[in-house]
Symmetry: C2
Subunit: 219 residues, 2 copies
């Protein structure tokens, strides 16, 4: 557990909290860790969960497969980011998505009740933690709104441009690395891979973008 303290220190969740405090909070919050091999499911659609998860190693996808095997990727979680926070309310029901490790991953789980109920013991930073969770969840919220923004575009090209521009804005660079391969990007934007691939090449021919593998440049 201790080896991940330095990772936690840099997360939005524990922002402003020192390493020593984090260590004591972890026991107070009865945090648990879990390791998952590439491809393993961390959470299954339909399950119930009252935990907030923080990824401390690896990379995971929040996704969903329908009856016919069509996959839809809701989002990608990198080290330091949080997931599972949409289901912490008492009546929020079953998970709507699977959470899958796309690389060997380690997650940390926190019982929500423990987070929200200020403890009597040494956690001087508990109220700060609550605030951090709050901000983290509202940022997540904003991310979802941004994704909806891409998805509400009518054409594949518009979806691509919307996604790439936002990513460029976020990374503050016209050269960006995206965390998806082509199939994953297609599943993320809810379009057909081959049609998307085709559209990307057209855009390149028209001088709008350049790309090589998952490295894109906006022109």
């Amino acid at each position: 557990m201790k080896k991940y303290i330095s990772v936690l220190k840099r997360t939005q969740l524990f922002s402003g909290v020192g390493e020593d405090e984090i260590l004591s909070m972890l026991s107070c919050l009865t945090a648990k860790t879990g390791s998952y091999k590439k491809g393993q499911y961390i959470l299954h659609q339909g399950e119930y969960s009252g935990n907030i998860f923080v990824l401390v190693e690896g990379k995971v996808h929040i996704q969903r497969d329908d009856y016919w095997g069509n996959r839809s990727i809701l989002g990608q979680i990198s080290v330091g980011e949080m997931f599972g926070e949409s289901y912490v309310a008492p009546e929020s029901g079953a998970l709507l998505n699977d959470v899958v490790a796309v690389e060997d991953s380690v997650v940390m789980m926190f019982d929500v009740k423990r987070i929200l109920t200020t403890c009597s013991s040494a956690c001087r930073f508990h109220s700060l933690l609550i605030q951090n969770v709050f901000f983290a969840i509202s940022e997540k919220n904003k991310k979802l709104v941004q994704k909806l923004d891409h998805m509400s575009k009518r054409t594949t090209r518009e979806k691509l441009m919307s996604y790439l521009s936002e990513e460029s804005k976020r990374q503050n660079n016209s050269k960006i690395a995206i965390p998806f391969n082509r199939q994953q990007l297609a599943d993320f934007l809810a379009v057909d891979r081959s049609a998307m691939s085709n559209e990307l090449c057209k855009m390149r021919n028209e001088g709008l973008i350049e790309f090589k593998k998952n490295l894109f440049t906006l022109l």
Copy 2:
């Protein structure tokens, strides 16, 4: 302000708090009210806001118009629901959407800082309030995920079925009233209105659904 206490009492935000307590909390939170005529903008895309809003009268849409006038409706807020909560984090930046009154509306605004910072005075229920905000925001999160679920469907028919089934599940009834007219529903699902109208009628002819105005029945 007092006339809306009974409305607030029934919101998720003030769940578990009595009317008397709400009244004292309102001043402690320095809550403000605002009235808007049908069609008026409550918030503008690009603005900054550190407030959480609760609708206490009327009906508003969270939406966005692009350069070419294409409208996209992110969501609809009914009396008792909250909005603006995605932008409360210190670094969350400008609003991505407009908020527009689709009926004469009254909103209540709360400064986030006031909510998160436990006050010294009489607010015995303050920590409960924080918990409530937390749950409310995570529910909102889930709503967005559900909307993404509809939008990730490839065909108009699938989007419609996804939306209508969820609504039916939520209202626990196969007969449902939707809060949109045709154009609004199309803007909500990001499809063309006439194509959608067409699809709805095909679905009716095939015996999948029945509808009259904004009343739908799943068969």
